[in-house]
């Protein structure tokens, strides 16, 4: 019963607002003709001045640059890496342990030697 009443109310809503919708569409249709002519003239001028007919907005250019940058990064990740030492790389890839660089190793060694020397003294 409630759904039936809802249907009737919906129907009444459409009947009442249908003329308003028609008016809105006709106003847009009328205004649309002028916008169409304006854009046509603009495109014609762009064509004869030898500029880009795509008529893109500055935001579109910005978006394209960002997207290209992002897609470029993704491509780099996907590139196959030459796996010389698979076992080492598997270990180093984990978040818990990061392999020390040559300089870091050297520093560690020097520190341990110093500590030993201090103890001996």
């Amino acid at each position: 019963m409630i759904t039936f009443l809802k249907g009737i109310l919906k129907g009444l809503f459409y009947v009442i607002f249908f003329p308003l919708g028609i008016i809105a569409i006709s106003l847009y249709a009328f205004f649309g003709i002028f916008v169409f002519i304006y854009r046509l003239i603009k495109l014609t001028i762009l064509f004869f001045t030898g500029r880009n007919l795509k008529n893109e907005l500055p935001e579109d250019e910005e978006v394209r640059q960002i997207l290209e940058k992002n897609s470029g990064n993704e491509e780099k990740h996907d590139e196959p890496v030459l796996n010389l030492y698979p076992s080492d790389q598997e270990i180093y890839k984990t978040d818990e342990y990061v392999s020390p660089t040559f300089d870091e190793k050297k520093e560690e060694q020097q520190q341990s030697i110093k500590e030993e020397e201090d103890k001996n003294e």
Binding site: I25, A29, G32, F36, N55, E59, V63, I66, L67
Partner: protein, 213 residues
């Protein structure tokens, strides 16, 4: 009221019943048409999301005003893209009409005429001066004016009529799509940059930051 009802003849009552039935059918038809239009427009409005999606995701557009301006520009540009084919069709129709009128030197030519226009292809009726027999309500009689036939003299109407009908309908669909996208644009502009404080408590938030530190 009772007097009026009593004075009505059986013919009048039948006529009133028929009119009411026609009214109900018209209302139902308008309702269904409105429902169909709403459904189509809802479907068409989804295109707005596609048009502005990248700019919103990349945060190139980050405030309401900018979003509306950008969306409006994209919307009209897409409308131009959608409307140029129907516009060309309509233009072809008018060019044919101008050529016809200049050849026959008849600038008052009606391309929808039932004598030498597009109307020759349809059944048409006209109202006669005579009225149907009724005691209170009188209606003019409908008399058959034209039966469908092909006439070579109406060649311009046969080109102009379909061009205007097809182009016009196509253009109106593009306009309804434009309107649907505009509605969607304003709807999105309200919700997209909305900041909500539902379930937020300042003291709790401060405590959380202190404990984290």
């Amino acid at each position: 009221m009772n007097n009026i009802l009593l004075s009505l003849s059986d013919g009048d009552k039948r006529l009133i019943f028929a009119l009411l039935l026609i009214l109900i059918i018209v209302v139902v038809f308008i309702g269904l048409l409105g429902y169909l239009m709403m459904r189509i427009m809802k479907f068409q409005s989804k295109k707005m999301d596609t048009l502005v999606h990248d700019a919103v995701i990349t945060k190139v557009v980050s405030d309401k005003k900018h979003f509306i301006k950008y969306g409006r520009n994209k919307n009209w540009a897409y409308f131009f893209k959608q409307a140029y084919i129907p516009m060309i069709i309509i233009l072809v129709g008018f060019i044919v009409l101008i050529i016809h009128n200049s050849i026959y030197n008849n600038w008052g030519y009606n391309p929808f005429s039932t004598y030498d226009g597009f109307g020759t292809l349809f059944f048409t009726w006209k109202l006669s001066g005579e009225y149907t027999d009724g005691s209170l309500i009188k209606f003019a009689k409908l008399v058959l004016d034209n039966t469908p036939h092909f006439d070579a003299i109406a060649w311009c109407g046969y080109i102009f009529g379909p061009c205007i009908l097809v182009g016009g309908t196509w253009y109106l669909v593009a306009v309804s799509s434009l309107l649907a996208r505009t509605v969607m644009l304003y709807k999105r502009s309200k919700t997209l940059f909305e900041k909500s404080l539902d379930g937020y408590h300042q003291d709790e938030a401060l405590n959380n930051t202190n404990t984290n530190n």
